[in-house]
Amino acid sequence: MSAEWPLWEIFIRSQHGLAHKHVGSLHAPDAELAVKNARDVYTRRNEGVSIWVVKSTDITASSPGDREALFEPSNSKVYRHPTFFPMPDEVKHL
């Protein structure tokens, strides 16, 4: 197997947020690419966020805490949003 990239935990503070929230993890070879990958992976529908990345092995957890997923819609790439496609009123479940 080729060399494995370390796992990083990603924390994001949105434009309207007060604190960084844990949104998930990703693999990157180093911190710089981890930040850039986090931007690509976890902020595709968002602009102007602050990103922290921490190597998973550097995290010490006190107790199984509740880590919340972050999702905030935004309008930069409009077609990503379901409301971009006007669906005929008669058709349900879309």
């Binding site: 990703l26 710089e32 690419l33 850039k36 990958n37 690509d40 992976v41 595709r44 790439k77």
Partner: protein
């Protein structure tokens, strides 16, 4: 060639370059070296399609002004033959391996950013607006391609060799980014277009330190492809563009007039 015709040509150069490069990047999706990179390459591709669409749409409007009727972004992208395309030869080059793709990106992104920064000061308000928005996206592209050139250049022996080979192979296609012709000159004088000749030195100044850090050599060749007025910007392409367009345009050509 009057001012509007020149502007139309110039906008095609910008739009076609973006669309062709986006087409190349799209080929990587699902086949990248790691999942995070599929996502990142798609982002760059999406930025470029977005920019390309704006340039082509504007070109169509300019065409309408000068000829009474203008083509849509899709008519321009899907119904012109290769000799009518005005993209840089550099961006139609095949993806090759990841090093080749990154070398192509690295060479292009820096020049693209410099050009867009200049265009953000264009006297033509619509151009300035599109360029200003694009600058934000391309700033990121520049960082990304530099990051990869450094990691591949100063990575393993294999990655270094592949990266150097890619830089050497694509070097002759970089010259086209810094030459001007009659189309450019008319627009430069009016403060509409960026003067590509003035971008060469700042481009080298940006590229050299990255290559140094990457332990890679800046190629030294003097001869540039597409020179003497026979470059992609004048509609003279490599053999690669025809195949790219055949694939890209297939549906619109097979079902003329259909809406999608």
């Amino acid at each position: 060639m009057n001012r509007e015709e020149a502007l139309f040509e110039y906008l095609l150069r910008l739009g076609d370059t973006d669309v062709v490069l986006a087409q190349r990047l799209g080929e990587w999706i699902g086949h990248g070296p790691v999942l995070e990179e599929d996502i990142a390459l798609a982002n760059v591709g999406l930025d470029l399609i977005g920019q390309g669409r704006l340039w082509l749409a504007l070109a169509g409007e300019v065409e309408a002004c000068s000829k009474g009727a203008g083509r849509s972004e899709d008519q321009l992208a899907f119904l012109r033959d290769g000799s009518a395309f005005r993209n840089l030869q550099l961006v139609e080059m095949p993806n090759g391996d990841f090093a080749m793709t990154m070398a192509r990106q690295f060479y292009f992104d820096h020049a693209h950013l410099l050009s867009l920064r200049a265009l953000a000061r264009s006297t033509e308000a619509r151009i300035a607006e599109i360029a200003a928005k694009a600058v934000k996206e391309v700033t990121y592209h520049v960082e990304r391609s530099a990051d990869w050139v450094i990691r591949l250049g100063d990575g393993t022996d294999e990655s270094h060799a592949r990266m150097q080979k890619a830089l050497d192979a694509l070097w002759p296609y970089t010259g086209e980014m810094f030459v001007t012709d009659a189309v450019d000159v008319a627009l430069i004088d009016a403060g509409i277009a960026a003067d590509a000749r003035t971008l060469r030195e700042p481009w080298l100044a940006a590229v050299r330190p990255v290559l140094d850090e990457a332990t890679l050599a800046l190629p030294a060749g003097q001869w540039m492809q597409g020179s003497g007025g026979r470059g992609g910007k004048q509609g003279v392409h490599t053999e690669h563009l025809g195949h790219l367009l055949t694939e890209m345009q297939h549906l619109q050509r097979t079902y003329p007039g259909a809406q999608w």
